[in-house]
Amino acid sequence: MPNLGEVIRNSQIWKSIFRHPMPVDRRNRIVVMLTNFFLHLHPVSIKKQGIALSYTWCMGGVTFFLFLVETITGVLLMFYYRPTTEWAYMDILSLRDTASLGILRELHRWGAHAMVIAVWLHMYRVFLTGSYKPPREFNWVVGVVLLLLTLLLSFTGYLLPWDQLAIWAITVGSKMGAATPFLGAEGPGSMLLQVGSIPMITGASDARFGLLGARFVGEETLNRFYVLHCVAIPLAVALLLAIHFWRVRKDGGISGPL
């Protein structure tokens, strides 16, 4: 009498999904890596050194996993949240008090902090092992952009609860927009850009205005940051992640001594 597990594994449905027997012998452990979409990112075999935790710290992996956690909790949060000055703060309050699974926002916020720390530690490890050296120079550059995007993701998300902490942190942070040389109304050289006697760069046309959508952090900023946070930056990150992972494989796999 075959047991239930065997019946399931011999069914047409199971076999249509998993195109090989259980990975318990050498052949099938290789086949599983080649036929599974989620696993095919990996090579089939790897140097033992390349996966030693004391060497890799697993921080790149942790960063990616936290990105997935942020995506999932973020999508769930979007069900409850309306990015308008009228509702944003109320929605966050009710998220805490009435929504089931009341730790969604906590998971999202602490996950974001953890992601910033993990991505720094990943960069730290890659530097300390000299893994940016040829042939991995370009992937280091992609990584620096991803690091920057991680900070921007966190920064744009900081505004969304629409409390005092949020708008003042963004007000302080966006001051640099106004201070941009030539392009910010309070930046050096901006008064040189004029047509006749009409200044081109004012509080209503400078870099900060572009960032905030207004002269001050307000309704337009909330909408702008919401779209950046939920759509624009995640898409850019997803694209660059794909390139980052692909290049890890193409540049000789996970780093190790040559």
């Binding site: 089939v44 956690v69 730790i103 926002r105 000299g130 050296k133 900070l151 902490l165 106004a178």
Partner: protein, 440 residues
């Protein structure tokens, strides 16, 4: 929300209890696996001491709690005599340099463990101070505390391996990473490691989310400005730079330079050694530059900005109350004032009714000392360096790469230089042209 000793007591008690368990486990490990009886006894005694501290801390009574806090006089001394940006920066630099110089001793597991326990003890003793506890336990500050300990741990981990590899290289052996060369299958070894990592991260995150509520202050109001207004924690290093530079430098030029500089690293580092393994000796220059930039100029400034900067961005000691009325005298002077008023006796000024171009000329004349200093620093110093101490670099890198590297380094050094000039001669700006909002 105001903390009191009573509210802190359960946390502090559990904190010392965890420390006791940690040390007991470490003692057991030394006894069981290292057969080191004397050390095992030592760490068990430490564990016992922490147990006693835990029971005292659980009491939450003022009198008893004094036994597990830093003496009032010591805290007063730290706040009154040591708490200023100059000493903080000199202190952290000296600490990092000591760590680097004595790395061979410090990476030994027992020494590192002792340092960790000391750091955690100091943290615990400080937590019994309500001012200190209030700032450290702010929900958004908790990750920074975690980051400090994580960075300490991983720096130890990396340095320990680098020291071992450097010793091996000195003996003519390969780095340890080269020994483990056999190929293994990704399923199951790597795939399972990843799974365990994911489960661990999920567990930590869930625990954190249940235990600590995300901060939510009053609804946003554009008329009530909080004091201090702080940027998100990872940008506090940049906000700290605002003390020394105008926003166009601290918020735009220097951050852009950091990003550009990071991207340039692989194209500037011509050293072929140290690719794919931990080492310090084989790439000392790159290592020191990076650590100076990351640990000293980025991380310690974040810690400073988070824990020690209070209302009006004034510097407060770790146990000092954040008093919004604290007055700090600011009498900073521009370089042009030093030169013209100090040496010549008057300030050059365009005569009334001068044309725009004449006014511009007068401004340049007034700021000439600063312009000379800055232009020499950024344009003349690199070739000078290339012909003297960096001659070897210049030869191997070629003109363009060498100029890029030396300019990036000089841009990085602008911050410490400006800090020192501020602390010693109260220098405000090297070049001060408020007419064009150009202050440096």
């Amino acid at each position: 929300m105001h903390l009191t000793l009573e509210k802190l007591a359960p946390f502090l008690g559990s904190y010392y209890l965890v420390l006791a368990v940690m040390n007991a486990v470490f003692g057991y490990f030394l006894w069981e696996h290292k057969k080191n009886i004397r050390q095992a006894v030592f760490w068990t005694v430490v564990a016992g001491a922490f147990t006693i501290m835990a029971s005292i801390a659980y009491s939450g009574q003022q009198k008893l709690m004094e036994l597990v806090s830093l003496p009032e006089a010591f805290r007063g001394f730290v706040d009154g005599n040591l708490a200023n940006p100059a000493l903080y920066t000199i202190g952290t630099s000296a600490f990092l340099v000591t760590m680097f110089l004595f790395r061979k001793v410090l990476v030994q597991p027992v020494v590192a463990w002792g340092l960790l326990v000391l750091a955690l003890l100091l943290m615990g003793l400080s937590m019994a101070d309500v001012q200190f506890a209030e700032i450290v336990t702010k929900p958004d500050n908790v990750p920074i505390v975690a980051m400090v300990f994580l960075l300490g741990y991983f720096t130890w981990l990396a340095t320990a391996q680098a020291v071992k590899n450097d010793e091996r290289t000195a003996r003519g052996e390969d780095p340890l990473e080269k020994l483990n060369n056999e190929k293994i299958l990704v399923w199951p070894d790597l795939v399972y490691t990843e799974l365990i990592c994911m489960v661990a991260v999920t567990a930590v995150l869930t625990y954190w989310a249940v235990g600590l509520q995300a901060p939510l202050e009053d609804a946003a109001s554009s008329v009530k400005t909080p004091n201090p207004s702080k940027a998100p924690w990872y940008f506090l290093g940049l906000q700290e730079m605002l003390v020394y530079f105008d926003p166009w430098m601290a918020g735009v030029v220097l951050p852009s330079t950091i990003v550009a500089g990071l991207m340039a690293i692989p194209y500037l580092d011509f050293n072929k050694a140290g690719n794919g393994y931990y080492t310090i000796n084989q790439r000392k220059f790159a290592y020191l530059v990076f650590q100076f930039g990351f640990l000293e100029l980025w991380v310690t400034l974040i810690i400073l900005g988070t824990f020690l900067r209070g209302p009006n961005w004034n510097f407060f000691g770790p146990y000092e109350q954040w008093d919004a009325h604290k007055v700090v005298a600011l009498n900073n002077v521009d370089l042009s004032q030093f030169f013209w008023l100090g040496l010549v006796g008057y300030m050059p000024k365009a005569p009334d009714g001068a044309s725009e171009i004449a006014k511009f000329g007068w401004i340049l004349w007034r700021e000439l000392p600063g312009i000379i200093v800055v232009v020499s620093y950024l344009a003349l110093l690199p070739p000078f360096l290339g012909l003297t101490i960096f001659r070897g670099f210049y030869k191997r890198m070629g003109l363009i790469r060498f100029m890029v590297m030396s300019n990036l380094l000089l841009m990085m050094m602008l911050l410490p230089i400006k800090m020192v000039l501020r602390w010693t001669i109260n220098l405000k700006y090297l070049i001060s042209i408020p007419e064009y909002l150009l202050n440096l």
